[in-house]
């Protein structure tokens, strides 16, 4: 293996040293800046979750006090939602892959891309600094009047941090939309785009249109806390419920910012490892757009018990059922893609199949919650916690792991160890279900969320969940080690180890600094797995490296 020749022609060998990375405008390197920082945030947020689960192993509050517990779940939520899930796939895999997938040399605005990372770090570290001073105990939702009148933590600092990170999200969103519109390779029409690109587009639209509303609500909170302008304070003429409307107008679409990219990853992985074109390409592509649009119309389902008008409740319930339709379209099409496929169970495929199972399960639980009567019963219980963790962790993080393994050879030029990958995927799946399935039961039995003590009869389910959390933590720590190991010791990856379609596989692994030696032209649809040279070959990626 000729390391010299490879490093001098790849983006990784373009220049070493901190300055070459911290001042880079190469989208592939910016993706790494994000990947490293997001991994740190993920494990930080995860450590808080593990602490909470250990506390909940016994009914009494014996490990941490109620105040500390409140701060733990608030920061767990803030870190995981804003500093991991929202940027996760778009800022790492999306940043790396979007230009490669559409045959461009870079994103439309490379400097804006780098700036977005700096803004992200500025905001997230500012918010984390509030921990040093004493933390925040409002929950990640910053509900008023708790956050404005009663909370004695550093709410303004955390809110300003999240507000700043919002700028980074908007920068990424604008960059992606313009890139997809203006930089597609010749012949790459909209309906030849990989679904991953479609989901990036839908995600970017939501980022650009929803994030400013979060900004507005956070500004109003800070104005109330620091300047005494009582927008949400009834004593000053304001209305606390208004905050929930504004917050969920952002935060529900934000759920789709988080899950749509995961759907994109799975739409790439499933066809590849079943050697079949994606079933119902147009339906899958357009259902992403439908999700993006419907996502803006369902925020009221977070407020069924808030005292909003009953008629609004009925309407929001109906619309919430509607948003399940495009998701179901995707699930059916993914399942049909597998039909008659030559399926192999490489690590990305395992993760993708686990995604399919967990997302479907979590999504169906979402239908329970969309029903008014059931929601009133399980509102603010562990049922809701279990539902969104099935979507966000079981769905989104699993898809993120699928994507990370799938494109790892492209990003690093190295293969990850396949056996370890399969073990980690399986451990994650088992640990995840052990952690969160008991929470459905707990919630249905009436265990409210955000409490650090509980009646002894709930202990059985809590112990199961806490044990699962440990298994899940092991499942997430394993890739940290073997992927890190493979960076230096992994087998060299060929340009296209999975024999996948898509422009990103037509350039070297790792790609050269400007992505393509000759600008690609496209004349075929996406997922053309019937194409000569890809079909009916014995599929053995790891024997390919000679």
């Amino acid at each position: 293996m000729n390391t010299e020749a490879l490093s001098s022609s790849s983006y990784l060998g373009e220049g070493a040293g901190p300055a070459a990375w911290l001042l880079t405008t190469d989208h592939k390197r910016v993706a790494w800046l994000y990947l490293i920082s997001l991994t740190a945030f993920f494990f930080l947020g995860g450590a808080m979750a593990v602490l909470m689960r250990i506390e909940l192993a016994t009914p009494a509050g014996d490990l941490v006090s109620d105040d500390v517990y409140n701060r733990l779940f608030s920061l767990h939520g803030i870190i995981m939602v804003w500093f991991f899930l929202v940027p996760s796939i778009p800022a790492t895999l999306g940043n790396f892959l979007l230009p490669l997938m559409i045959g461009a040399r870079d994103l439309a605005f490379p400097r804006l891309n780098l700036a977005s990372w700096y803004v992200f770090m500025l905001g997230s570290l500012f918010a984390l600094a509030s921990v040093v001073f004493g933390g925040v105990d409002t929950g990640w939702t910053f509900y008023t009047p708790l956050s404005t009148l009663y909370a004695n933590g550093f709410v303004s600092m955390a809110a300003l941090g999240v507000f700043t990170v919002g700028f980074s999200t908007i920068m990424t969103g604008i960059n992606f939309i313009v890139t997809i519109h203006t930089l597609r390779a010749p012949g790459l029409t909209w309906f030849r785009l990989p679904i991953f690109v479609w989901t990036m587009y839908a995600t970017a639209l939501v980022m650009v249109l929803a994030t400013p509303v979060l900004a507005a609500s956070l500004i109003l909170i800070v104005l109330e806390r620091m300047f005494g302008i009582g927008i949400f304070n009834p004593a000053l003429g304001g209305d606390p419920l208004l905050f929930q409307h504004l917050f969920w107008f952002y935060s529900h679409p934000a759920v789709y910012i988080m899950i749509l990219p995961g759907m994109g990853v799975v739409s790439e992985v499933l066809p590849c490892f079943s050697r079949r074109p994606l079933f119902g390409y147009k339906a899958v592509a357009l259902s992403s757009m439908a999700i993006a649009v419907f996502g803006f119309l369902v925020w009221g389902h977070h407020m069924f018990v808030s005292g909003q008008s009953a008629y609004a409740g009925v309407l929001f319930s109906f619309l919430s059922f509607c948003v399940a339709i495009p998701s179901a379209i995707k699930v059916f099409n993914w399942s049909l893609t597998l039909r008659k496929g030559e399926i192999t169970f490489e690590t990305p495929m395992l993760y993708a199949l686990f995604f399919l199972a967990l997302f479907t399960f979590g999504g169906l639980a979402g239908l329970f919650l969309a029903a008014l009567a059931i929601d009133v019963h399980v509102h603010d219980t562990y049922f809701v916690v279990a539902h969104f963790h099935y979507i966000m962790v079981g769905g989104m993080v699993t898809a993120y792991m699928a994507g990370l393994h799938f494109w790892w050879p492209k990003m690093t030029g190295r293969m990850y160890p396949e056996t370890w990958g399969r073990i980690a995927a399986t451990v994650t799946f088992l640990g995840f279900n052990l952690t969160f399935f008991p929470q459905f039961v707990l919630g249905f039995l009436g265990m409210p969320r955000r409490y650090h003590t509980y009646p002894p009869e709930f202990q059985f389910w809590h112990i199961l969940s806490s044990a699962g959390a440990v298994v899940l933590a092991i499942g997430y720590l394993m890739p940290l080690f073997y992927l890190g190991w493979s960076l230096f010791r992994g087998a060299r990856a060929p340009a296209n180890p999975w024999r996948a379609t898509g422009l990103e596989w037509q350039t070297a692994s790792p790609p050269p600094p400007h992505n393509f030696d000759a600008m690609p032209k496209v004349s075929r649809p996406a997922y053309d797995y019937a194409m000569k040279g890809l079909q009916h070959e014995k599929f053995s990626p790891h024997k390919d490296e000679a």
Binding site: I177, T182, L183, V213, I229, L236, G237
Partner: protein, 212 residues
């Protein structure tokens, strides 16, 4: 026009210019959602507490508000001139128009500051714990009106300050920029400036002109 592009992603300057303008429009869409959310809050409150808001609105200075509207629309005119002159290669005139735009922005901020001072003296600025003294009907909801007024006008002012800073930065780096990149920057900041003006065109009637 120079044949170079600022981003490595583009082959042709014309494509890059189109992408710039497109990006600016998306950004403006995003900004519209920001102001839209707060306008919505205002409108809900306005419908709920109509009479209190109308009475409170009459405590704002209509002459100064009107003067500011004129100043800001004039600044939009000079911004449009800067773009027009730039397009025709008359860079001296374009530079002066840009400077005039920024200056008019500063005048607007000055008048706004004077208004804020008057409102503080009158005791109708419910900010930073300053005692709120108001002799009209329904003082609680009047205070809500003034709170919203300060929030919205200040958010607008922050946007204006951002625009002025960008124009100043552009003028500082003016001599080192190529003509095509100057033109791109004028077009982008121009779109932004007009947007901030249009926001004021909405704020002025809903804040100052209730039942006048």
């Amino acid at each position: 026009m120079g044949a170079s592009t600022e981003s490595v992603a583009f082959d042709k300057p014309a494509r890059e210019q189109a992408a710039d303008t497109f990006a600016m429009w998306i950004f403006i869409g995003s900004e519209a959602m920001l102001f839209g959310a707060i306008l919505l809050v205002f409108l809900i409150a306005r419908i709920s507490y109509g009479p209190a808001f109308a009475a409170a609105s009459h405590h704002l200075s209509l002459p100064l508000g009107t003067l500011n509207t004129v100043v800001l629309i004039t600044s939009s005119f000079s911004m449009a001139l800067a773009h027009l002159f730039g397009n025709r290669g008359r860079w001296r005139a374009s530079t002066w128009s840009l400077a005039a735009t920024a200056l008019l922005g500063l005048v607007f901020l000055g008048i706004k500051a004077a208004e804020y001072t008057m409102e503080f003296r009158e005791g109708i600025a419910p900010v930073l714990g300053v005692p709120f003294t108001y002799d009209g009907p329904d003082p609680v909801h009047a205070e809500f009106f003034f709170g919203l007024y300060f929030a919205m006008a200040s958010l607008h002012a922050v946007h204006l300050i951002g625009g002025i800073v960008v124009i100043a930065g552009m003028l500082v780096m003016w001599s080192s920029a190529t003509q095509s990149s100057r033109l791109r920057r004028v077009r982008a900041i121009g779109l932004y400036w007009h947007f901030v003006d249009i926001v004021w065109v909405f704020l002025f009637p809903i804040l100052y002109l209730i039942n006048r």
